[in-house]
Each structure stands twice: as structure tokens, then as C-alpha cells.
Symmetry: C2
Subunit: 198 residues, 2 copies
């Protein structure tokens, strides 16, 4: 399985945000919505072997699972609407039991560290970082879990948690890409693993 | 320079569409907006050597130029707002003279074939197609011009025009990606050209 954890530093934790102001009042939720798109969608299809975990302001984690997602569409507004729905169900997320929001979408009352620990059991944690090893020179691991930040850098405490957990550090560079663009490149890297480079 | 031509088969040709219904009433304009994002944006920067040409319903072409774009943001709504602004200026686009809409954004009264001919003078036309040569095995050309379709296939007449003009046919596969995801992979391919594959 391929998994992505994306940290939304200013993301909303209540559903009182406007779907028409995702890049403003909703704390750059547009960035996280694009990450769900990049993580799960193919042309006319969905990546069934992929999960995207959005960590909202280090308080909640919304998990999108490609194997069970239904009626999910790649545009920012549609994904944001699912996140809004998830945030209407916070009372149902108790301990590590998620609230089931819609097919393939669950809300967990879990911060970054808890989410990372939980996901780490099933895979190899990889930090995507501009100073990591070039993707092109790296062999893909089995069951990778990529950790990315939204438009902001990792905080010092996030970076410390990651440094303790991440087994590898990779970069897509030389250009620094947005989180969703990075995810698209990573998927293609995994899709074409084993191909010969010209 | 890197250029992308993206065909929007159901895209609006008048500004009377809702920014809150891009994936519905606006004829999947969300797809074209994501292509502008993938084409022009880096993390905290813009690709100054890139142009994205959106062909709207084979009637108008809106050109986004990374070297002159200003106050452009990557979210779908913001890009759609620029396209709406462009479509308010159709009366100013006469012959091949564009209407200047906002910094880096111009509207041309040009269909796909005219746009392709005009752009072909400055580069090598490449069709991105699932049956093309694998990117990984291909050497990038100088000044590539990539031609992509939105959520629909190329029509027979578009395919015929392309077959006459395209010098190469490439694929990002094995998975079939959305147009914007394909553009992100292509940029990364060009960015890392010359890197060794592990």
C-alpha cells in the first residue's frame, strides 16, 4: 500500500468555513484538497492501494481510503465538502475510534504523532524533503508512507518527531514543488519503478 | 521554453458561469484550472520559462505566461476567476491580436489548429498519449510543446491535426493520469533530465 500523511498547519477543525474561500478563510484547505486529488485519482479511476491522511491543525486526522472511496471527485470544492462533512462528526470520534463520514472517509481524533505511529506499523516512513536523496537515484521501498507539509515548513517539533521515525529522506528536486505536485511525482516514480531511464 | 496546450472540450466561451460550480455548469473548467496550476506553479514560485494555452471549446485560447504572470494563485477558483475575466474581454480580441486581460494572461480568438500552428513555430510539438514512447526512455527535446486533452479524448479532427504536426508521442504511464498530473510529471522529467536513474 502507498500512504501519504499531509500536515495542514492552518486547517480548520470545525465545519464553519466557506467552500468558496478555501485558500483564505479556510486556512489553505485548497492545498490539502489538491493532495487528496493527487493521492487518490487516476484518469477515470481511483488508486485503490492508496490512503491519504490529512492532519488538521494537529488535532484531527481525516483519512481518505482509495479502496473504499465512492462518489469522490477530484475538484477542490468537492474534496473540501467531504472534509466539512467529517468535521461535522467530531463528536463521534472517540479515542482512536474513527467517525465514519462517507464511504472511504473517516475522521480520527488524532494528532500528527499519533497518526504517524499508527501508520508506521504498516510501512516505511519517508520524509519528502528538499535535502533528501534524489528520487531518481533511490530504490522504492515496499509499502511507503510519505510525510509532507502543506504550504508551510514542518515545525521544529514535527521535524523532531519525523527525524525519530523516518527511515528515509527523499527529494523530487531540483525544483521545490507543492505538496500535491510532489505526490504526483512520487506516484509516477513508484508506477515506473523498474523502468530504465534513457 | 516549455509550453502546454490543453483542450477544453466543454469549456465556457462566455463569462456567465459560476465560480462555485466549476466541475458542473462550467464544463469541467476545474480540469483546466488545475492544468494552469501544474504548468506554472512551484512551491513559493512560478515557472518563468513556461506558458500554458487553454483552448476553450475550439473558439478561444487563453494564454498564461509564467514570465509575466502576477498575483496569480494556484487554487482552482482563483484561476477560474482569471478565465472569467478573459471571457469578459472577447470583444477586444480581433484577428490574431489578443486581449490583454491581466498581467501574464491574454485571450486570443483562436481555435486549436491556429494555436497549434502559432506555437509550433517556437518548439517541438509532442503529443502526450497513452500509446507513446515512455518518458523514462526518451530524451527531452529543446523547447517542447506538449498537447493534452481535458477529461475527454481528442476528437477525430483534433487527432488528425495533431498527427500532422506532432514530432513525437510520449506517455507518462503505465497508469493513465489526469492532464494536470501528466503536466507535473512532465515538468519533473524535464527538471531532472540528465539525472541517473537508480
Amino acid at each position: 500500500m502507498r500512504q501519504f500523511i499531509v500536515l495542514g498547519h492552518e486547517a480548520p477543525t470545525s465545519p464553519e468555513f466557506s467552500l468558496s474561500d478555501l485558500a483564505g478563510g479556510a486556512g489553505r484547505l485548497d492545498v490539502l484538497c489538491r493532495c487528496v486529488n493527487a493521492g487518490l485519482f487516476l484518469s477515470h479511476g481511483i488508486r485503490e492501494d492508496t490512503r491519504v491522511h490529512l492532519v488538521l491543525n494537529d488535532e484531527y486526522t481525516v483519512r481518505f481510503d482509495g479502496s473504499t472511496a465512492k462518489r469522490l471527485y477530484p475538484n477542490e470544492r468537492a474534496v473540501a465538502s467531504r472534509i466539512k462533512g467529517a468535521l461535522e462528526s467530531t463528536a463521534d470520534a472517540i479515542g482512536h475510534q474513527p467517525a465514519e463520514v462517507s464511504p472511504g472517509v473517516e475522521l480520527y481524533r488524532m494528532d500528527f504523532e499519533s497518526t504517524l505511529e499508527s501508520v508506521a506499523r504498516d510501512g516505511t516512513i519517508i520524509e519528502l524533503h528538499e535535502e533528501g536523496e534524489s528520487l531518481i537515484e533511490a530504490e522504492p521501498p515496499a509499502d511507503p508512507v510519505f510525510v509532507l507539509s502543506d504550504h508551510q515548513e514542518f515545525t521544529d517539533s514535527e521535524a523532531a518527531v519525523l527525524a525519530d521515525t523516518a527511515e528515509r529522506r527523499l527529494r523530487v528536486g531540483p525544483e521545490i514543488l507543492h505538496a500535491d505536485q510532489t505526490m504526483t511525482v512520487v506516484h509516477n516514480w513508484l508506477d515506473t519503478a523498474g523502468y530504465r531511464r534513457y
